[in-house]
């Protein structure tokens, strides 16, 4: 099937600091472009490997349909600049059920959070621009947000509410952005520095209801410069709508 190459402008709207584009937002763009090349309506599972941070400016979005199936269709998608791949993804698409569809097993419960108004807004650090928190309202459970006031609790879990500031209600593509929108658990562990994503896979499980999303992010093993971060997203109706996991790097404290 035909490979399409489209030049797109990467704006700095979703960038941190000096132009580091947000990984979740990049994934949403790749999956959105893939969806345009298939008859399936939703992303089911999206895997991305982050090779290098794309620059702000023009990038080529490459989409390669691989297989169009009855229930699942798969595609490759990537961003290139100067002919070099920056983010590579494989996108499998299909039809998501509504939240609360008949289930055989539901072995999970949404995170218990204080009311939204008691949660702390993640406004980023002074003097450091954060495009994510400019675009998304991220309200953290005070119990896991010690780092905001310089006193991390040492927990490897961060949880909170997230919604779009522009009034966009949750949809499967927005969930891809949100799957990487909580601050790294390393902040709350007291490990300094950025935790760049190496690989991120997001499984979408149901269509999200309107309203605030509840997200919880945890690490299981932080070892030798590498950590896993699992992020679950629950909608306002209390349904699990996305399960994400990433492998990220961190700087081993001296």
């Amino acid at each position: 099937m035909e490979i399409t190459r489209t030049d797109v402008k990467l704006e700095d709207t979703w960038a941190y600091g000096a132009g580091i584009l947000h990984g979740g937002w990049l994934l949403e763009q790749l999956a959105g472009a893939a969806l345009e090349r298939t008859a399936q309506p939703h992303p089911l599972v999206v895997s991305a490997h982050y090779l290098a941070v794309p620059r702000i400016g023009v990038a080529t979005l490459v989409v390669e349909p691989l297989r169009e199936g009855r229930s699942v269709s798969s595609l490759r998608a990537r961003f290139e600049q100067e002919g070099k791949p920056k983010v590579e993804a494989i996108v499998s698409t299909g039809t998501l059920p509504p939240g609360g569809a008949p289930a055989l097993v539901r072995d999970a419960a949404p995170p218990v959070l204080p009311p939204v108004e008691e949660c702390l807004e993640n406004q980023g650090m002074p003097g450091f621009r954060n495009g994510i928190t400019e675009q998304l309202e991220v309200r953290l459970d005070p119990a896991t947000a010690g780092f905001l006031s310089g006193t991390p609790t040492g927990s490897a879990e961060v949880r909170g509410y997230i919604r779009s500031r522009d009034g966009r209600e949750p949809d499967p593509l927005l969930l891809l952005t949100i799957a990487d929108a909580l601050p790294p658990v390393t902040f709350e562990m007291g490990v300094e520095g950025w935790a760049p994503t190496i690989e991120l896979t997001v499984m979408l499980r149901a269509l999200p209801a309107p309203g605030w999303l509840r997200c919880v992010q945890r690490a299981r093993l932080v070892q030798g410069g590498w950590l896993d971060e699992e992020c679950e997203i629950w909608d306002s109706a209390g349904h699990l709508v996305a399960q994400a996991r990433q492998l990220a790097a961190y700087k081993v404290p001296a």
Binding site: S74, P85, L104, D107, I198, E199, T201, R245, L247
Partner: protein, 248 residues
């Protein structure tokens, strides 16, 4: 483009085992500077038969710490498995800085039940000739018509030749336990749509322990999480797949 000869002795019925395929695809993409697969994401498009298949390996970035590759297995021109691999080099002496969870608790190996390659319905589960898998008896009730109903199972795993586990073996182990749907009494085929394996460290010699669970089985789709722990009680694999199931 290289040729991968899919070994019929690894097949389940006529179809190649998913973990065996992943291991066979990833192996040739590793090099001396990046010998350890760290993150492997695979989307399974169609299931190849035993015999010749085409393996395409394209290195897309070689960095200081990690190298990434785009891998593709096709048969007769039809895409079968699409993979992204990031590989690097793990420090054998790395100690956990922070960890949660513990290795699964299993009865002793000799009290567990070896999963047989010859199934009672006559289908050969070939990979079980290569992988010595000893299931926790409590989680194999499905075989005698009384599944324990928790959507989980666990087992001891090692190479059938008794050799110590390699990182490529871990990719096989990550997809070796029976589907958790069996534990619910659903015996149908559970095709993997996507499988991501995070290899977290180098495994110690000896038996590995694996535990597999699902959180949500809804509308024909389930997630299966498989953790593999080595004989030293270290978490060495975190794998998760999205798979399909049917009620009939």
């Amino acid at each position: 483009m290289t040729t991968l000869d899919i070994d019929p002795t690894w097949c389940v019925g006529t179809k190649a085992h998913g973990g065996y395929l992943l291991s066979s695809i990833v192996g040739p993409a590793l090099d001396e500077a990046h010998p350890h697969p760290m993150a492997v994401s695979a989307h399974y498009l169609s299931s190849p038969d035993a015999g010749s298949a085409e393996l395409e390996i394209e290195r897309v970035r070689t960095g200081r710490r990690v190298a990434s590759s785009r891998l593709r297995l096709a048969q007769n021109g039809k895409p079968c498995v699409e993979v992204l691999l990031t590989a690097g080099k793990y420090d054998a002496d790395a100690e956990p800085y922070w960890t949660t969870g513990e290795a699964p608790v299993l009865p002793p190996v000799e009290d567990c039940l070896r999963a047989e390659a010859r199934r009672r319905d006559g289908v050969t589960v070939g990979f079980l000739n290569h992988v010595d898998m000893r299931m926790d008896p409590e989680t194999v009730g499905y075989a005698t018509g009384s599944p324990h109903g928790k959507a989980m199972n666990q087992a001891w795993l090692r190479r059938d030749d008794g050799g110590d586990p390699t990182l490529l073996d871990l990719l096989i182990f990550a997809d070796s336990l029976p589907p958790v749907t069996f534990d619910l009494g659903l015996i149908g085929w559970v095709p993997t749509v996507e499988l991501t394996v995070l290899v977290r460290g180098l495994p110690a010699p000896g038996w590995c322990r694996a535990v597999q669970r699902a959180r949500l089985l809804q509308d024909g789709w389930l997630d299966e999480e498989c953790e593999v722990w080595d004989s030293a009680g270290r978490l060495v694999v975190q794998a998760r797949q999205l798979a399909g199931y049917r009620l009939d």
